[in-house]
């Protein structure tokens, strides 16, 4: 037993509280926030190293034995996602001072930011279903605070939808946990898995599983549950949009991935096939949504949806290639979505509008930004040799291994639509005649690009250097396909 597993949750928690106390000393707060995020990233990477060497780290909180205590489980999947979360966080924390108003920073942006990171890391690390609910609440409450930060009229209007739908799904979540507890008598995920397996997921259990899927599916923005996502995500400051777009839906996907590879795996013909259908519709409607608008921020926001479609596709296919694809895609998408939200945020700031019809020829003023956008369009569409390709390749392989030709064709076509939605922005917004009317602010552009370059570096590395990561991800997929490993590591039987 090692206390390491709690650090990625506690470091941001303490940082958040500390920075709330210092909130008026904005220069100090910035430096500390950057420092703490950096430390948290280093710690997370160290934990990943330890986990890779010695196996999962199980922390039974309070010294009580599992399943009676809340366990934190830092296995490779959790810690990989925590590391990715902190990479995104680091980029955002450096972007924030340039993008936020001083008042927003003073009014506890950094506190909410750290609470969000704490909640997200907690959700990845916990091995307890009720505790997962609690961490969901932490990250949601932080997101509620962030989405209204600044208090614009549009922000308040859109955030009420965001809050209410998420509240609804939280209610459904806690109710469903109660149902599950009634049947299996425990909330420890390993023990639930063991007990569901014992009774072969009979009776009401599959129904409860589907309810849980709807809970997580609402968070993950799957078809037909994603209505709350696109518009609320673009109203706050770009750095907040980037955090949301990169992290929040992915927590939902992670929860589905965990629950439907660990616990409810005894009726995959029903549940997982259903996911493939959901994936198909999510891909189609998401891509259509991305084409439906001239608001560049909204294009990116809609593009979250087909991405989760890809991930749920892999969970539905439920073979090693497909699950590796989902995990690869998860990591890739966290990074590229953050980069894209920061990019369009910068573009909208520099162009003075996010309406594509009013932007042209930006590349004359901001060549680097233009090429970064160009690059990220291909990363997002899954063109090799970038990160999106590896994930997509694995997913398609997994699909064809299972003879699911239709979903593969849908996935290929939606890649084309995604590319179209992105390249349209490049062709219309960056290409074209020089627009002499805009006020050029090279200094701001340079400041914006650093964090974006940092993120895109990982996107390229994950693609070109796939050999560095893929073996680990393949291991994770194999590990997920054998739930006994998780159960044994937690319950030590």
């Amino acid at each position: 037993m090692s206390n390491l597993a709690v650090l990625p949750i506690v470091i941001p928690l303490i940082s958040g509280i500390l920075l709330a106390l210092l909130h008026k000393k904005i220069q100090l707060v910035r430096v500390l926030a950057q420092l703490f995020t950096g430390i948290n990233l280093v710690v997370a990477i160290y934990i990943m190293y330890v986990v890779q060497k010695n196996g999962s780290i199980i922390l039974e909180s309070g010294g009580w034995d599992a399943p009676y205590s809340i366990v934190l489980v830092a296995d490779l999947l959790s810690i990989l996602l925590v590391v990715t979360t902190n990479i995104v966080a680091l980029a955002c924390v450096f972007y924030a001072p340039k993008s936020l108003s001083k008042q927003q920073e003073e009014f506890y942006f950094y506190t909410f930011f750290f609470m969000l990171i704490s909640g997200v890391s907690g959700a990845f690390l916990t091995g307890d279903l009720f505790n997962l609910f609690v961490f969901f609440e932490v990250l949601l409450m932080a997101s509620y605070a962030l989405i209204v930060l600044g208090g614009g009229k549009v922000q308040l209007r859109e955030s009420i939808k965001y809050v209410l739908i998420n509240l609804f799904s939280s209610m459904l979540f806690v109710t469903t946990i109660a149902f599950l507890y009634s049947v299996v008598g425990t909330v420890n995920m390993a023990q639930i898995a063991q007990r569901v397996q014992e009774v072969d997921q009979k009776g009401i259990l599959t129904t409860i599983a589907i309810l849980l899927f709807f809970v997580f599916g609402t968070k993950a923005a799957l078809f037909p549950l994603y209505y709350w996502l696109p518009k609320p995500y673009i109203v706050p400051n770009p750095v907040i949009s980037a955090l949301f777009g990169a992290l929040l839906t992915k927590v939902g996907i992670y929860a589905i991935l965990r629950v439907f590879t660990l616990i409810f795996v005894h009726d995959t013909d029903f549940t997982h096939n259903f996911f493939i259908w959901i994936a198909g519709f999510t891909l189609i409607f998401g891509a259509i949504g991305a084409l439906s608008t001239n608001n560049i921020k909204l294009v990116i926001s809609y593009n979250i949806i087909p991405a989760v479609g890809f991930m749920i596709m892999g969970i539905g296919l439920y073979n090693e290639a497909a699950l590796s694809g989902t995990i690869y895609y998860l990591v890739h998408d966290m990074i590229i979505k953050a980069a894209l939200f920061l990019l369009v945020g910068s573009v909208a700031y520099l162009a003075g509008t996010s309406d594509l019809r009013k932007i042209k020829g930006l590349i004359h003023h901001y060549p680097l930004l233009g090429w970064l956008f160009f690059l990220s369009a291909f990363v997002l569409a899954g063109i090799p040799p970038f990160s999106g390709f590896i994930g997509k390749l694995l997913l398609l392989q997994g699909g064809l291994q299972n003879d699911e030709v239709v979903i593969v064709i849908i996935a290929l076509l939606s890649s084309l639509l995604i590319l179209l939605s992105m390249i349209r922005i490049f062709v219309r917004g960056f290409w074209g005649e020089k627009d002499e009317s805009i006020r050029v602010d090279k200094k701001a552009a340079r400041a914006f690009t650093m964090p974006i370059v940092f993120l895109l570096f990982f996107s390229v590395l994950l693609g070109v250097g796939a050999e560095l990561f893929y073996p680990m991800i393949e291991n994770i997929a194999a590990y997920l396909l054998n739930p006994e490993l998780y159960i044994e590591s937690v319950l030590k039987e």
Binding site: L13, I70, G185, I210, L211, F214, F270, I288, Q397
Partner: protein, 777 residues
Amino acid sequence: MLYAVLIPLLIACFIPYLSKFKDKIHTGIFVLFVPLSIFIYFLQFIDTNFVPVAQGYSWIPSLNISLDFYLDGLSLLFVLLISGIGTLVTLYSIFYLHKSERLGHFYVYLLMFMTAMLGVVLSDNVFVLYTFWELTSISSFLLIGYWHYRERSRYGALKSMLITVFGGLSMLGGFILLTIITGSTSIQEMISQTDVILNSPYLPLVMTFIFLGAFTKSAQFPFHIWLPDAMEAPTPVSAYLHSATMVKAGIYLIARFSPVFSAYEWFFIIVSGIGIITLCWGSYMAVRQTDLKGILAFSTISQLGMIMTMLGFGTKAAAFAAVFHILNHATFKGSLFMVAGIIDHETGSRDIRKLGGLMTLMPISATLALFGTFSMAGVPLPFLNGFYSKEMFFDVSLDLSSTSLFIAEIMKTSIPYLAVLGSIFTFVYSMYLFFGTFTGEKHLDELPSKPHEAPIGMLISPALLIVGVIIIGLIPNLVNEPLLAHAAKAISGEEVHKHIAFWHGFEAPLYMSLIVVIFGSILYIFRKKWTDIYLLIPGTLSLNKVYDRILDGSEKYSRKITNSYMDGSLRKYIALIMIATVLVTFTTMLTTDGFTIKTDDLAKVTVSEILIASVMVAAALGTIFARNNVAAILILGVVGFGLSVLFVLYRAPDLALTQLVVETITVALFLLCFYHLPNLRPRTESFKTKSVNAIIAISFGALMTMVAISAHSSKWFGAISEYFIENSYELGGGANMVNVILVDFRGIDTLFEIVVLGIAAFGIYAMIKLRSDKGVE
């Protein structure tokens, strides 16, 4: 070979730096050495006894993606074309592009393309091939959009990218299927497993996927529409990418996989069928064009169709004829594009209606064009390489093996006729291209600038290509054994030896050639009389309109679809989410036999419980019908207080107290807030909407009730709460079990619930204090 492929890309990294000196030294001069040295490097492989060379470098071994290069006859032919034409095009571009252009960009894209194209033809690993394939699409996009301030350039760039990336994605699907079928990512390994592939049930799908990739890239009907619009690119690019190399990538792909697929009878039908349609349609449409580059674009389409047709035949002789024509086409079409560029450069116009009589003004260009066009037309002269391959085409079209499929039989008989028909039009537009530009009346006043002969530097490249045309024409067997025979062998899988001769005797191909020349001349001379038929058939415009409609439609309809449900109404969103949840969960419960009800462990229901429950139900219903804020809140409070009474009945006084406190505070807070809020508006929805909403709400409630009953009736395990009951006093040291759970057993939950409250407090404080309309209060 790795270096040969990657050097252009590496050099490209230095171009932005080198282009800073463009005022002193034209950036193209640095670039020129790259394709030249690659060309010289690969020249050494030309040899009668050439054997394929394989080289492998590791990249992502765990995904079976490795940089395996395989140089056989077919790759060698392409590599020499890419580097050879690349050298000439770079040379040409030095004089074509003025130093004031963004030369850095141009050469970066061009070098990127070279790497990509070399990679396509050298990769043995399908995924690496796909990577380079998409890179060719991307560099082509950037080159077509080079003058991106022009609307047409942007349009053409996007069009070419969408169509070729569509094909590329489809090809990727095919490649993945092939790797699953054969368990290998190497093309050579796949070829050795031809039997396995041919017996796979996926064969038709694999072929469709891969052919879509090839046909889109090689501009085959009906995907050819991107190529004419790609002519917006600077002319060196058109000569290089859109005539000599990139558009032949699809040809390469079909040729490469032809050992695998050619035994399948649909291979002939699809490849030759699409090829011959493209041949006829392209040449027919070329006559109609007025832009020099437009004529050449459709001519390229048509010629690619011809090569495709020959590949579809699947015979040894056809394979040879195909590779021979790949080489010949690159020479004469490359030079013609460059001449067209010269005319554009010197006269300022490419409109053939404004040109004419340039022979005397630009004699050298005219001579070059003469050889180029006559070779393209297949005029039977012994120094024109185009004639040889054209005649071989006629020859192989008459010699097709018989098949069992009816449709194949029909095609077999009709192909020679269609071949002649297409060639007649080829003859017509070739003549039109030459005579229309260089003879006839001069319209000098209509031209933007006064025409004169081009600088010598611009003429070198096309002249060298024309020399190639003539040399191959005079000594056709020069390249035969050392190069073409190996390429043909790679396609047909067997040794191919052929002696090329000018004179075959009085046989069918000769008569066909003569028919082409005679009818072609007649049609050309009387072209004014019959060109009205183009008005009858709307022509290429209709296909372009299909593309435009799809593209516009993709925006219009996606907007329509999306706006139809994303209308910002929260109530609608929740209703949709609930409907989905109810439908799916009910279905699940039915199909998995989930509903159970057990009554044996239920306690007796007392009168007081019934009473409280009914009050709660009534209050819950009452909230919906309340017309006043305050009333609604108070009635809602009744539900909460009812719950605390139930807690009292079930002997949980602590819970009852908590519930009471919570309820009191919330009601009080609500009342305080609502004082400042506008009153509830009366509901104005129709009865129908209301009933639908009622049904949704009731079924959701019913669902939760049924799941709750089933969950209660399925208590199959002892709960972990037993452990807490036993141990909370002894190990936890607290007599109140709930408290021990909260602060000890599950302390983390409590800690973070407190955090949630803390965040909420800070969030609300920030929301109240910081408002965008008022600033900080």
